[in-house]
Symmetry: C2
Subunit: 210 residues, 2 copies
Amino acid sequence: MSSHYPSYLLENAVNEFAKLPGIGRKTALRLVLHLLRQDDVSLENFASAIATLKHDVKYCSCCHNISDSEVCAICSDKSRDASTVCVVENIKEVMAIENTVQFRGLYHVLGGIISPIDGIGPSDIEISSLVDRVKSGEVTEVILALSATMEGDTTNFYIYRKLQPYNVKVSIIARGVAIGDEIEYADEITLGRSIINRTPFDESYKTVSK
Amino acid sequence: MSSHYPSYLLENAVNEFAKLPGIGRKTALRLVLHLLRQDDVSLENFASAIATLKHDVKYCSCCHNISDSEVCAICSDKSRDASTVCVVENIKEVMAIENTVQFRGLYHVLGGIISPIDGIGPSDIEISSLVDRVKSGEVTEVILALSATMEGDTTNFYIYRKLQPYNVKVSIIARGVAIGDEIEYADEITLGRSIINRTPFDESYKTVSK
């Protein structure tokens, strides 16, 4: 089915929206026509919010979380426990764990997960900077909070091996989250409990059947 | 549940996306993080597509359809039948009917539908300009192609009454589209047939039970 767009500008805007994940062409058209009905100021705010974000946003030099400053609000919060670092795949997981209000340590955002199928290896994500943080000595425990998928397991094992030479406890969040589920969509209660009930890395994998 | 955004810029962009119809905060966050992963050029294209659309888009002086020029491509197409005008609520319905390839006349986009509950009266939509088009004499048939809802029926009756003084046939698309359905979501076969099987306005309402 070809669509007859009455305007090239309209078609162009629809094409741009249809590139977004989960947005089809009908939804894209609906969104664009909605924006077109807004006044100039609203539209300007919308367009500039995106441009400004991309242009001005920073990534924390310590944990690689998204941030408005050189060091993020969490890393620079002196009331937090800098000896405990929770390793997560992405920004969304930091937000999900912060929402549980169960964790008062710091984070380390990998910016991805080891996935040979997608061509993502250990050097493509922030693992060496995690090792550097541990080497520096302040960290006494690293909590692995990756998704309970094959890629998550692979990444867990890789990080565990890399950290073994150092005097640091490596634990993993309790698998209260069902195997196969994504961290991002877990409910707060389950996710919060899984942080409290974290188990030492060795024991954890003993109880999980292959 | 409050969300802990690590960055004000991020939160601002999420807020802007969450204003769009059908986009919740989780989806908005997913879309914004997707955009953030794009390179500068892609992001620039996205932002400018919207801004340019709003700034440069025109509305056809004849049929009020969205257009890149003063008179739209359909109205200025000499191969089309200028004596038949199809009245639709919005741009999306023009596109839906064009996709059926069953109609070779022109359109008239009302830009809305009479809906007292939403405070939209006859003067808020392009009815008087439709009457002017009919008055000018070239139009011999007006086809009403509004949604089969109460608001659509109300608007149909209002337009019919307004056009009665003039020597013009007023017809209505066949109700192949189920009562209560929106034109926008009808499949092409049904919608195309409903244009071919249009019936004179009087007869149409005789066969519809109140």
